[in-house]
Symmetry: C2
Subunit: 250 residues, 2 copies
């Protein structure tokens, strides 16, 4: 089996924005689907891991696009494991259009946890480190790695939202894609008419549950660059906890 | 070509709710995709209609399920035209699971508009009424037709939300599926833990644009039956206009 997985998707009409281009959240979702297909076919997918009380947890995701697929366009997502360490593995993505032109790339970092203790576990313990057989170190992914998203206390409060039924996945948490969507919703359509999102980066810190309230703090960190901190207010304790940070480059 | 279109989809992990069942909004989206594939393959799809300044407009949608596809399950959506009149056509759906068991049905009513005047146009004017060649009148769709959703002034205000970037499709309107999702979000997870949504019905009345504010009014109309009225407050005029009504049977 090829070390690189290749999956075709279509930019569905209702998954495209006002400009007729695929929403970034839906592209992120298809990257995560591609990751799931790739790992399942090679013996270390979520479904198998569940049977041994393990699970992949997405820690970071960075997407950098020169162009988004247009409505009805078929596009390919390629994915491969770039490296694997005991507690983290990095998986890359390449997105190409129906005519083969390169649309963009993605980088992601994953940890593996014990689903009972929720603690990180040794990735190499799965099938004697079989993931090492799937590493592709030499396929180019010419975008920067995720960096630490640096924010100061100057970040301004933008809005709060309640976590709703449609935000929650089978694990009982807000799903990874919903954070992307809610963050992109902080900008209005007039902004998107005049600015193209070139890079989106997210670092996941903690999980959000139903009933929690999410607050968004935003800070302009460079020309055409903004960072967003998401903080949850826990329903039961009223405690405020950071759940993720995003960096957007327009 | 078969008069009935048959399309396979997968219940993706992030399209499933806390219970591991497909969200109704995503099922609705796939029904609309199936409608688009079916009509495109038979010469009266959106893409062709755009070239002659016509467009299908979804007027009503009813979905009745005995079971929702489970996470990772492949399911089939069949669709066919049940009847066609000058200004309305009715299209039905049947959803089956990977093992052939029937999961549920859908009914929809569509109008055709002139995209310049936004007025209804004669469906039979397309290719000399060719749609009549595709009618399947005898395939069972054993769920009730959409009825008028009757509500009184007793309906109580539940919440208001702003229309965001991710709500708006290429036509500049809130997309049909987003109304379904926002309506289902009025109930909390504890409710869904104890109640299964058996039937969902929506009648579209007016379009909502970016910047409008949506308010939700809810009324219990029978045991296990609720109706919801969505009203927009237009940004420019402050005017309140009804945009759709939903009926939910649990």
């Amino acid at each position: 089996m090829d070390k690189i997985g290749k999956y075709e998707f279509v930019a569905e009409p209702f998954h495209c924005d006002f400009s007729g281009r695929l929403f970034l959240g839906h592209l992120g979702n298809q990257m995560l689907n591609a990751a799931d297909f790739h790992s399942t076919d090679r013996g270390f997918g979520m479904k198998y891991l569940m049977t041994i009380n393990r699970s992949w947890v997405l820690s970071r995701l960075a997407i950098e696009m020169t162009e988004m697929p247009g409505q009805h366009e078929r596009y390919l997502v390629e994915t491969w494991v770039e490296s694997a360490m005991r507690f983290f593995t990095s998986r890359n993505f390449r997105v190409t259009g129906s005519d083969g032109r390169v649309l963009g790339f993605g980088r992601s970092i994953w940890a593996m946890i014990d689903t009972e203790t929720r603690q990180p576990t040794d990735i190499f313990s799965i099938d004697n480190g079989a993931i090492k057989n799937w590493i592709v170190a030499d396929k180019p992914c010419p975008i920067e790695q995720s960096s630490r998203v640096k924010m100061t206390e100057k970040a301004g409060f933008v809005r709060s939202i309640d976590v709703n039924y449609n935000d929650i996945d089978i694990n009982g948490h807000v799903n990874s894609v919903k954070y992307i969507e809610h963050t992109l919703d902080l900008w209005d359509i007039d902004w998107y008419r005049e600015h193209r999102l070139k890079r989106f980066e997210i670092a996941y810190v903690a999980e959000t549950h139903y009933g929690d309230r999410l607050s968004f703090y935003r800070e302009q960190t460079a020309e055409n660059e903004c960072c967003v901190r998401l903080v949850k207010t826990e329903k039961q304790t009223g405690k405020e906890v950071e759940v993720c940070r995003c960096k957007l480059v327009f």
